[in-house]
């Protein structure tokens, strides 16, 4: 129950922070670490968030990975999700296979689209998400294969594409943060290029630069990612992920 936070727990909190101050919107975490993070955010500093059970129900309270919410507060089938996306009261965290310096991401295909080296999921909702409401990203393995100079198939659009496409695409476009197993990033530079915000405890700036296939904006002074508070660790370890599945996704 006690002991220093693991890397996975630092990542959970860094993901949770993406939804700080979001108010009464739907938090849509895709994948395990973001899901633990979103439930943690609501259980602590963002109590007004809406969360689904991963299927079609909005649940109240805090429930564990692999279990169901005790109280259902609404019905959110896919059609309602699409309506909500266009309305804008949603903040999604997706997990891309490739991401570039401007925040373009690829979840569709590696290589040439007409005959890819590796076919992935398809663009899913990424094009619509990124032009409709805030979007963040989680990358469980930070390597030069994931953080690339140029993504092969732009699924979710970055700041350069949004600007090129003009007002209809850029009007509601906002990339909030990128969390990887090594650090936290945002796009808060003059030209919206990816910037290092913090390094996870035990990680160096040099390590992150070496694992990134483009030039990151690196401020002179990069703080460490904040450590989980005791209450957060307690929630993660005994309430949200008592089975410890987070440590299988991020080791160390």
């Amino acid at each position: 129950m006690t002991g220093a936070a693991t890397r996975a727990e630092v990542c959970v909190v860094a993901c949770a922070e993406a939804w700080r101050d979001d108010g009464e919107i739907l938090a849509s975490p895709i994948g395990l670490i973001p899901t633990i993070g979103a439930r943690l955010a609501r259980a602590t500093f963002s109590p007004d968030l809406l969360l689904t059970d991963g299927e079609a129900m909005l649940g109240q309270g805090t429930w564990a990975i692999g279990s169901q919410p005790q109280v259902i507060e609404g019905w959110m089938p896919y059609r309602a999700i699409f309506d909500l996306i266009y309305h804008g009261k949603r903040h999604v965290m997706m997990s891309p296979s490739q991401i570039d310096a401007h925040g373009n991401v690829n979840i569709s295909a590696i290589g040439e689209f007409s005959r890819p080296k590796a076919a992935l999921l398809g663009v899913r909702g990424a094009p619509g998400n990124t032009v409709s409401h805030p979007t963040s990203y989680w990358v469980p393995r930070h390597t030069t294969r994931a953080f690339v100079h140029r993504v092969d198939m732009v699924s979710g659009i970055g700041y350069d594409r949004a600007a090129e496409a003009g007002e209809p695409a850029s009007r509601y476009h906002e990339l909030r943060r990128v969390v990887s197993n090594l650090g936290v990033f945002d796009f808060a530079t003059g030209d919206h290029r990816m910037r290092l915000v913090s390094v996870h405890p035990g990680v160096t700036v040099a390590e992150i630069s070496a694992a990134t296939g483009f030039e990151l904006a690196v401020p002179d002074d990069v703080p460490p990612t904040r450590e989980p508070a005791a209450e957060e660790l307690q929630l993660i370890r005994s309430v949200i992920d008592p089975g410890g599945s987070r440590d299988a996704e991020v080791r160390g």
């Binding site: 299927e55 059609r79 398809g122 663009v123 094009p127 619509g128 409709s132 699924s155 209809p168």
Partner: protein, 284 residues
Amino acid sequence: MTAAAAVADLRSGMTIGIGGWGSRRKPMTLVRAICRSDLTDLTIVSYGGPDVGLLLAAGKVRKLVYGFVSLDSIPLEPHFRAARQSGAIEVAEYDEGMLQLGLYAASCRLPFLPTRAGLGSDVLRVNPELRTVPSPYDGEELLAMPALHLDAAIVHASRADGFGNAQFLGPDPYFDDLFCTAAQRAYVSCEKVVPTPELTAAAPVQTLRIQRWMVAGVVEAPHGAHFTSCDPDYGRDEEFQREYAGAAADPAAWAAFRASYFDQDEAGYQAAVAARRYARRGAS
């Protein structure tokens, strides 16, 4: 009607929409019947799962229109990956919301519906036929998602009456009614055909998402979504799906798996699945 009779209404070269979502409530009995038929060169429109995988493996698909293809609990569909990576099929990959709007436009008999979804993305690069349209009110240039007209649609419901009124008892109707109304002819398979009064006796009227005017034929198909989920009657057969995905990744293993389950009629398939379940239970 029978699944075979429904499939006998279909023709090679048709555009066929398939309801459900990923590996959830897919009309698998009807998909298996198409796989056994001599239909070819189909254009398949789907929020894809193993329906797409099986049709690809059977060589039935000329073109695939989709937002994703996934087995949900197993993210990537092996037959879809193989077909894409060999360049064997033509594709139109759209944002999930674009697919919905295309079906809705067809359903409303409109040529297109405007959306932001897709703007700025490579969806426009890989689908060069897509056009934008200026708003006549403020000039905003939006994507004009073309209507996705379907020759036929197949969906799987929990219950239906013999007239085509169909009911969903699970958590999400997905886009099944839109698939039906975007199609010239829609075929609904269901777990059980019941007398009409039983539909509203068992669940609220709001579960009746598909009405008989949308439907050309009803097929009673118990376990007709197997191995995808059909809550609350049954969940996804995860063990079977794992075996499917493992076999699909290897040609020899796939030939053996196909022979065990798919190279026979639907009753044979369901019997093989039941026997497998019984054997596993005995072993554990």
